[in-house]
Symmetry: D2
Amino acid sequence: MTAAKSTKNASHGTHQHGYADQKDALSKRLRRIEGQVRGVERMIDEDRYCIDVLTQISAIQAALDKVGLALLEDHARHCVVGGPEELKADRTEEMMAAVARLMRRG
Amino acid sequence: MTAAKSTKNASHGTHQHGYADQKDALSKRLRRIEGQVRGVERMIDEDRYCIDVLTQISAIQAALDKVGLALLEDHARHCVVGGPEELKADRTEEMMAAVARLMRRG
Amino acid sequence: MTAAKSTKNASHGTHQHGYADQKDALSKRLRRIEGQVRGVERMIDEDRYCIDVLTQISAIQAALDKVGLALLEDHARHCVVGGPEELKADRTEEMMAAVARLMRRG
Amino acid sequence: MTAAKSTKNASHGTHQHGYADQKDALSKRLRRIEGQVRGVERMIDEDRYCIDVLTQISAIQAALDKVGLALLEDHARHCVVGGPEELKADRTEEMMAAVARLMRRG
């Protein structure tokens, strides 16, 4: 993501993000997901059964969906609903585009 | 995944797995995904805008879906359709359960 | 959906719903989806090839996802962001639960 | 779906489809889904609360996913694994493309 692209969104500078209170929890969950991905690399390396590898991939997808939903909820609460009046329309549109991408329809 | 659980599947020991010819390609893709997850950790660390973080999460989901579909296709081809006759029924059932999990309906 | 269950949501009576301006467009899309479902019934009846039936089912899923996203966007805009202050917190939570269900994680 | 397009698949004429034994059950489920879609049309007509409409749409998606998975399993069993040797490779590829579409990655 380039700085140029980043200026096109409705973040408007130094505002405190929706997930500020949850940074530690999110970081912990992401480190666990990183470990799960490394676990799948190891399974491939050790020629583990395809179906067992797929089960682990589904578990990672579930964990990522949870992180995505947590971020989205914080964003909706703090940046959209609780955001500055003049940004609400843009941020609602932007949030809906993110929902569509999470639904694989973006 | 415990050894006990692993014996319940239809892998039957030392058979060569469906993805054998693609191990390098799969490992490379998984290392890239691992890097993408670390990238998201960094974004959280740097207080990046929620929507930009969500966009990266959707990109990881897309990459994981591709790995899942590649593994599934190799499995279907080599382990189910091309597998030993006496295991085909069990492996078909097992494969469909994996499809359901990838569709978040498992 | 029972009346009892319906009273638990944050709709609060006779408020005009988010999709009020789009009722005709939504009805038209839903009638088309109804026709697509009837089309699949006919395909089954005529013993059409499984894969062709599955292609039509995926088309219906795509059409339903679009209707879902349209409803969600109207709801976010008019009922959550543009709704009465005292209902915003409940409606945000309710909206996020709907997003989780659309992502098959509800 | 045009006849021209239909000839491109690996169905090869008058073969009995995978779902032959389940036609009644599938038809019944599809008629129920058709009724659910009509129910959503009615909800829109009666200005029901957006979130309640979305809940019903998610229920239809779940029912369609089930029909899709049932068709796919019958197809895998009877048309791919149990199909004629010379069509297995093509049918495996075709089946995987259907899985990708059901995962919204087609």
